[in-house]
Symmetry: D3
Subunit: 329 residues, 6 copies
Amino acid sequence: MSESGHYRPEAGMDVPRFAGIPTFMRLPHRRLAEAQGVDIGIVGVPWDGGTTNRPGARHGPRQLRDASTMIRLVNQATGVRPFELVRCADLGDAPVNPANLQDSLARIEDFHRRLVEAGITPLTVGGDHLITLPILRALARRHRPLALVQFDAHTDFYDAYFGGERYTHGTPFRRAVEEGLIDPGKVVQIGIRGTAYDGEDVRWARAQGARVIMIEEYYDRGPAWAMEEVRRIVGDHPCYVSFDVDALDPSQAPGTGTPEIGGIFTHDAQRMIRRLAGLRLVGADVVELSPPFDPSGMTAWVAANLLFELLCVLALARGGGPARRDAGV
Amino acid sequence: MSESGHYRPEAGMDVPRFAGIPTFMRLPHRRLAEAQGVDIGIVGVPWDGGTTNRPGARHGPRQLRDASTMIRLVNQATGVRPFELVRCADLGDAPVNPANLQDSLARIEDFHRRLVEAGITPLTVGGDHLITLPILRALARRHRPLALVQFDAHTDFYDAYFGGERYTHGTPFRRAVEEGLIDPGKVVQIGIRGTAYDGEDVRWARAQGARVIMIEEYYDRGPAWAMEEVRRIVGDHPCYVSFDVDALDPSQAPGTGTPEIGGIFTHDAQRMIRRLAGLRLVGADVVELSPPFDPSGMTAWVAANLLFELLCVLALARGGGPARRDAGV
Amino acid sequence: MSESGHYRPEAGMDVPRFAGIPTFMRLPHRRLAEAQGVDIGIVGVPWDGGTTNRPGARHGPRQLRDASTMIRLVNQATGVRPFELVRCADLGDAPVNPANLQDSLARIEDFHRRLVEAGITPLTVGGDHLITLPILRALARRHRPLALVQFDAHTDFYDAYFGGERYTHGTPFRRAVEEGLIDPGKVVQIGIRGTAYDGEDVRWARAQGARVIMIEEYYDRGPAWAMEEVRRIVGDHPCYVSFDVDALDPSQAPGTGTPEIGGIFTHDAQRMIRRLAGLRLVGADVVELSPPFDPSGMTAWVAANLLFELLCVLALARGGGPARRDAGV
Amino acid sequence: MSESGHYRPEAGMDVPRFAGIPTFMRLPHRRLAEAQGVDIGIVGVPWDGGTTNRPGARHGPRQLRDASTMIRLVNQATGVRPFELVRCADLGDAPVNPANLQDSLARIEDFHRRLVEAGITPLTVGGDHLITLPILRALARRHRPLALVQFDAHTDFYDAYFGGERYTHGTPFRRAVEEGLIDPGKVVQIGIRGTAYDGEDVRWARAQGARVIMIEEYYDRGPAWAMEEVRRIVGDHPCYVSFDVDALDPSQAPGTGTPEIGGIFTHDAQRMIRRLAGLRLVGADVVELSPPFDPSGMTAWVAANLLFELLCVLALARGGGPARRDAGV
Amino acid sequence: MSESGHYRPEAGMDVPRFAGIPTFMRLPHRRLAEAQGVDIGIVGVPWDGGTTNRPGARHGPRQLRDASTMIRLVNQATGVRPFELVRCADLGDAPVNPANLQDSLARIEDFHRRLVEAGITPLTVGGDHLITLPILRALARRHRPLALVQFDAHTDFYDAYFGGERYTHGTPFRRAVEEGLIDPGKVVQIGIRGTAYDGEDVRWARAQGARVIMIEEYYDRGPAWAMEEVRRIVGDHPCYVSFDVDALDPSQAPGTGTPEIGGIFTHDAQRMIRRLAGLRLVGADVVELSPPFDPSGMTAWVAANLLFELLCVLALARGGGPARRDAGV
Amino acid sequence: MSESGHYRPEAGMDVPRFAGIPTFMRLPHRRLAEAQGVDIGIVGVPWDGGTTNRPGARHGPRQLRDASTMIRLVNQATGVRPFELVRCADLGDAPVNPANLQDSLARIEDFHRRLVEAGITPLTVGGDHLITLPILRALARRHRPLALVQFDAHTDFYDAYFGGERYTHGTPFRRAVEEGLIDPGKVVQIGIRGTAYDGEDVRWARAQGARVIMIEEYYDRGPAWAMEEVRRIVGDHPCYVSFDVDALDPSQAPGTGTPEIGGIFTHDAQRMIRRLAGLRLVGADVVELSPPFDPSGMTAWVAANLLFELLCVLALARGGGPARRDAGV
């Protein structure tokens, strides 16, 4: 396993975790051109040009890198040791253009297309939720359509804002369905809540076959049930996971642009992600972390831990054979 | 419904929710003299002269107006569309006098008396909890005595502070019982907790017949049970609802003067308010939001959502006929 | 003067300044269609789509309205009583589109064009500095080209960002010169500083004839000298004033997207604005207030005071005849 | 000097300055009944019932005690060693009643009367500025009328608020003149600024003979000149010093209820207080520190240092003979 | 009970709780030499020299004293009135040396040794978790080995950091076992979670016989079960309780150096501590409160309440006979 | 200059400045073993084990890296383009040991010794001020004794703390004189102020021949004079520059452990550093930035700019020949 050793974090027992240049989880930084051999690439997308409400998610990757240096090597709850299963690296940030929405989408897609072509599984840190659209476009070259597991307070299935804007952080999954990137019959959304404009988004999504689990149903039936629902619907279809931090309760994740009260608690979020083990995961993201609204840094710390949980299940999916999987759940 | 259309919020899909002059829920502002035809009037009372501990609730209405522009039109959990059921307006702030307690009580009562006389149901934003006393005085001209449902960490049934001060935010309901404004046999308090001076307040309240649900009993039996208790006790008596944000857990509502740990979680608070539907509600308030202790603004956001939940059940109560009620729960 | 009385703030001696719905300086809110008779209209532009660095200026108008309710009626330093000189109103926010840059520029221009056509002098609150471009376009229908007095840490005379983006908050005055909206020979910039990309912006501006006063020269010669320079260059040309809060020292104005250390102190800024009295001012703005980076709210408080100083000199310019001017400086 | 040794701070070289129970400057705590032999007593008045705007000054004494444990023993600029000149103690807080204005004034006066009768010079920490009125009443039993040196952004010479309230933090000095406690011809106010209601306060004060130094004059002539003015006017009259922290620039003292931009800088404030040496000082206070608006604690730190500067000049005044004075300036 | 009256808090009904010099729970301050007759001594240890990650726990005692003045006299949930059962005092801070780890351990041990010799039960406020080691050394002179109930996110059973440092806040309990201070077969740890270095700490602890309850097991079986486990293992052995605030969920206790998401909620923590009643408790601590990471002060407020809960069960243990115990649970 | 191109920052016009992995000034990261050819190496020392008061400087390098990505390429005030004059790199953090003071000093010295041996000029970011001692030890192998220019509120010339601790952040320069690392006759300290323990530090320093410029003298004579004094005393002796951020006024640099009011303003600090051009500088540092006390991040932003100013004068010193110097001042 010496080879993958180059793709492991620095150890906190040797160098204090607050020291050093903050890459994601203290992994080595590799530019995309040097990333051959990497299995899972953690990527930042510092862009919030699709945000209709409070901005700041452009600062998410920077802050999450900072917080993630606190992460250690082993998932104590499941025993998974992702850095022994696969080779990981921080691939830096995708290029973006703060002053041009469509150009940004093209740049983000292109960056992820190169990852996919290099055989690297992307684990992306946003940025607002519109960044998932170009990632899905990139992945769709290989897997089309994808299943989707989405943790979120909002469906992001709106059609348009402000009299015709079809590309905002409230619309990516409507576009993804229209473009055939995801299979609406294999979409599960968990945590939807808050006051509504008029509910058209939910009606449309359900009409397409999507499974929208409102927070009320989630509270009544519980997270274990929700994940059974996920496994039932997704099956062994290639699947993408998108975690919008506003799925969480604002007391645990205030640093986001559009918080909604009465959300998911972190310990349940951790457990739900762990139950994605065994699915055929081909990519994942954590989005909508907005540092300007996170003065204590706690949301970044939460997001870093969820990023690690996602990394663990991606590593299991990527790690392949039963031998490696034995090391995990 | 075109008439009530003048009393609806601006739509967030047209004008971004962070834009514009912040009235409560982006409703039209009507001065009391112009408010004929309004069914439910949202009123601010920017006053904290009854506060014995940390001040700041005088800034509550301003901050809550700001946060409330994030509220949309439909209660996604219940389907209630309050702005289609009734005509709502922001009636501005009741006049207050920061340097004179009794004069302030008189001004607040007078303002609410005019509302009641105009047939408007008051939904008031404090201010400290002493403001509920003059509101009850105003309502008592029509309904006397009232039932009371109170969400709170403290009974506010104390007799006096600091050697004889009988009017503080810890005494309003003792005065209200003494003045015959509320029927102690029809009072239910939920969430009482924290260290105690000596427990005399609880003993007195129970001796009068009030139902004081301590947080321990609440945790053991659950919010659904608590609301059954409310419905059993209140029945179809005219009822006022007072929501002190310190009822909530301080992790979700730090912005209050006298927080107590181990409180009610917001999702349960939402559900409990929704179960007030069907009661004969004649007014409600949200009090004790103290912005100086709410640096992230999260408490205001929580309070804005609870204000909306209260508006929904008031709208159902006010909305009257079965036809309208069909639109709701 | 009873007529203009309808356009005066509520008095803080009657209603506490923290009470009520926060319009700019507690002025009456008038929709543009109802604004006939208004002399100076204060307008918000809640938009930061041109921001290349830290966002948040979209929240500027809301926060500045809140802070501005602390402003009283009289300029104690100069004796000017703007609300007795002219009729003022809060005209609300110009419509914007967070997801579309060019559409936003068009909407902002259109809103200001209607003001100009109604004979109203605009005093605008941003928003990022790109909003000044559409305001200048609107004003240019009447005055073309304009003189410009700009307080700023940056020239905003860049040509393009990110490989070709010609419309950002770093480029408005380059575009304004190219479009003939301002006369570069009548531009004075005060406070320019910070590290530079390569200095091309300053060289270009100077080549066009602009007077760029670097902070070093400002410190060596002083604010009184700087304003003599302004008066010498601008003369009696129709003149626009743009105040970017990043001109100020970050200790006094941290709430901005691109702070630069070693800036202008507020007392000098106040004095410099007062010395604009007598110029032929046709509009002004305060921009780049970013509330997410202003946790204490102090920047908003500073900006509200500078807005009042600008209002005073606009009122003098607008007030016209010697009689009114006697009431002032 | 062994006797006074019991009235000296703990040494930071022995016990870290962040350790221990925070009395003012780590002085011994003495209840008033045990305070015989104390020369200067530092007293807290945790009360803000006279506040017409943002509250919180009731928390001032607590926070200032905390910050003041950072103060060391020697005034490095002047060489004064106050704890060697006089016996100092923390006398705790005066009793107050948050729910009763007049009762609070009576309690504060009574507490200070007992100090004065015990021959102790009071150095008081507020609390809002209304607390100075009962202190002056207590001191007036011995010295009547007093001279007054006041550092402040506001004259606090208003007559009444909110339609007749004559006792607020904006009125103490009007009352003090009316009651004959201070000699208006021996009042000097430094730092007055900000927008005005209508300027009646300044006109009234000047009509009584008070010297109101507006901030503009202060900036033009400088702090050394201002203190010459003080010495010229006060002469050897018994004199009280009142330092309202809003005299300072808000960048250095944001934690106050009614900040005004463009204020006095701390290094000038320090120097001005030092130039009070030689006056016949009989008491002093630091007021209007509002911790809820001071998240970084910097205002408390500033106030603690100014409290120490006041202590030094009080100690010189109290210390008496030339021998002791030789140890000082 | 008049004698113990001298060891009771000041009453909040008489003196506002924000007033006065902040001792722990407003108890009288007694220096160790004057503490004869005290039953339970609350002690601060302002030291964080063993911290491997984010520092600041040295400021814990100061901030916790401040917050604890909000605590009232009676445990409303259990009816325990600790100040009537036993004599309590604030014994000040143990001496520490910020620049010398071993000297600090010696000083802390010596201070607690003197308490133990005086027959005082220590209730200590940290400081980082390494301070528990010298406390155990002091207690071990009387009780050896001790049982230990530890609420914590981390086992603190590591062997060494940074290449050989055997004394850090991650190692105290390994040292305590090695030194024979605690009986590993009578150790129960609750709340362990977070990513792991490699899990050696847990393996070692379990090999020694310690009961490590991971958070997953805690969530599956619940707090009541966990406390049954405690009572089963500890029995009537002399027992020490150590509460590391990072055991709590970071949404409720952000102010700590090494937070881990998905923790224990405060209402369960309160209930678990209450179920320690009846154990033979000989001391307790609350550690790892780090005020610099607690801007809202909420963690201190939580810690103050848990300190009170610990005081109640210590008072019951100390209070002795059945008569007194009747007053409690 | 293509070779040095590899050692230049990424351009903010291409990649937004909030994007990417934050190295110092977006320079390439080079491990020490790969640093051949580097002229100036920026190094972090994340350690605060010498701190006697408020900790947190261990987090300084991380936060300063984050803030420094805002720095552009050219010093607009002087025209210096450091990245064209010399080859710069981020050399990462020196190894430290949070739990062992002397081991940390040895590690820091060893790291800097290797830099010096590789011919690299160190520009170091602390960490508390004790880190300067091992840096001076490393540099003394080549230059012995050194001249020292120190910007600071404190002399750091104390002998010992807490009864004998000779190595704290208050003692480095006493040790450095004793060890012959610096020539006390060539030491200039600027900005010394604040209350004093007893002044022994200043007396000792002056007795050794050091020039201690107290803040009062600085204010009276001005920064230009102070720098003339520096040039007169240092001459062409090899010189080290140490900038403690507590030299600055706390309004501009609150994020430090031991702030003192009435400090140096940033624009004067910038100008003073620029006047070091021409001295024979062999190294420099910026220390005592404590992020936990810098919630707005403004101190880091200030420190990043001063780091750039220091880099410019080091680059001039290092850049050598007149040709290169022509590119500069």
